[in-house]
Symmetry: C2
Subunit: 107 residues, 2 copies
DNA sequence: CGTCACTGTAAGCCATAACTTACCGTAAGT
DNA sequence: ACTTACGGTAAGTTATGGCTTACAGTGACG
C-alpha cells in the first residue's frame, strides 16, 4: 500500500519540511539544503525516501536535479484520508444512534 | 501543529492498525489487543500516542475504556492534505505553463 | 473486605532511522 | 585535461521509539 509509505515518509519533521518546500515549485537539492539546518546529504536521503514513497519526482538538468511534487502520490494519500473520513462519519453516526448511553450494551 | 502529531502517529503500521480498527466503532483496549500480534500494553501505548495526537478519544465504562475516533482530529489531518493538494495543483499548473525543459534527461 | 477483570505506567532491550563526514561520479566552463 | 559545481552513496554514530515483562491502580461483585 502506497499510502503507508507516504505516511511514513511524512512522519519525519525534516522530511516534511523538504516536502513542503516542493509545494512552492521545483527545487534542487542544494537549494533545499541551504534553507534547512541539516547537511546536503541528509536532504538527499530524505528526497530518496520521498521519491520511493511516490510523493515526488525528479528531473535532471546538467549536474543539477530538480525535485517536484508528484500528483499521483498526493492522490493516494488524499484518497486514504478521504476514505477514512467516510468511515469515520459512518462510525460517528452509529455512535450517535446508539444514544448517549455510556454503558456496555454490547452483547 | 496538530497535523504533525497526526502524521507521526499514523506512520507506525501497528498503530495504524489500532487506529483503523476504531473506524468500525468504539473498542476497548483488550478487544483491540486480542486482534493484534502485540501485547496489551503495547496497544495501550499506541492508544496514548493516538490520543495525544488528537486522533481518538476515550470513554470509561467501569474498568473498561472505550476508544473512538475523534472527529476534530480527522478534520485537521484532512485539511492538511487538502491544503497541500491545492498548493500542489498550483505548482503543477506553474510547471506546465513554463513548458517542458528539453534539457531533461530521459531518466 | 477479598478477588477478579481491565488498563495505565515503568524499566529495559533492541531494531530502526536520521544525521554526520568522507568519498566518488558526472556535467559544464576555461 | 584540469577545475569547479552538484549531488548520490557508504560507513559509522547516536537518538528515537516500539516491544516486552513486571507492577500498580481502580471499579464491579460476592
Amino acid at each position: 500500500m502506497a499510502y503507508s509509505d507516504a505516511l511514513t515518509a511524512l512522519a519525519d519533521p525534516t522530511r516534511r519540511s523538504v516536502f513542503e518546500r516542493l509545494a512552492g515549485g521545483d527545487r534542487s537539492v542544494g537549494e533545499i539544503a541551504a534553507e534547512l539546518p541539516v547537511s546536503r546529504p541528509a536532504v538527499s536521503q530524505h528526497l530518496r525516501v520521498l521519491k520511493e514513497a511516490g510523493l515526488i519526482g525528479e528531473r535532471q538538468v546538467g549536474t543539477r536535479r530538480y525535485y517536484s511534487l508528484r500528483r499521483d502520490g498526493l492522490v493516494e494519500l488524499r484518497d486514504y484520508v478521504e476514505g477514512f473520513w467516510e468511515e469515520a462519519l459512518a462510525s460517528f453516526k452509529r455512535t450517535a444512534e446508539r444514544g448517549e448511553e455510556d454503558e456496555t450494551s454490547d452483547g
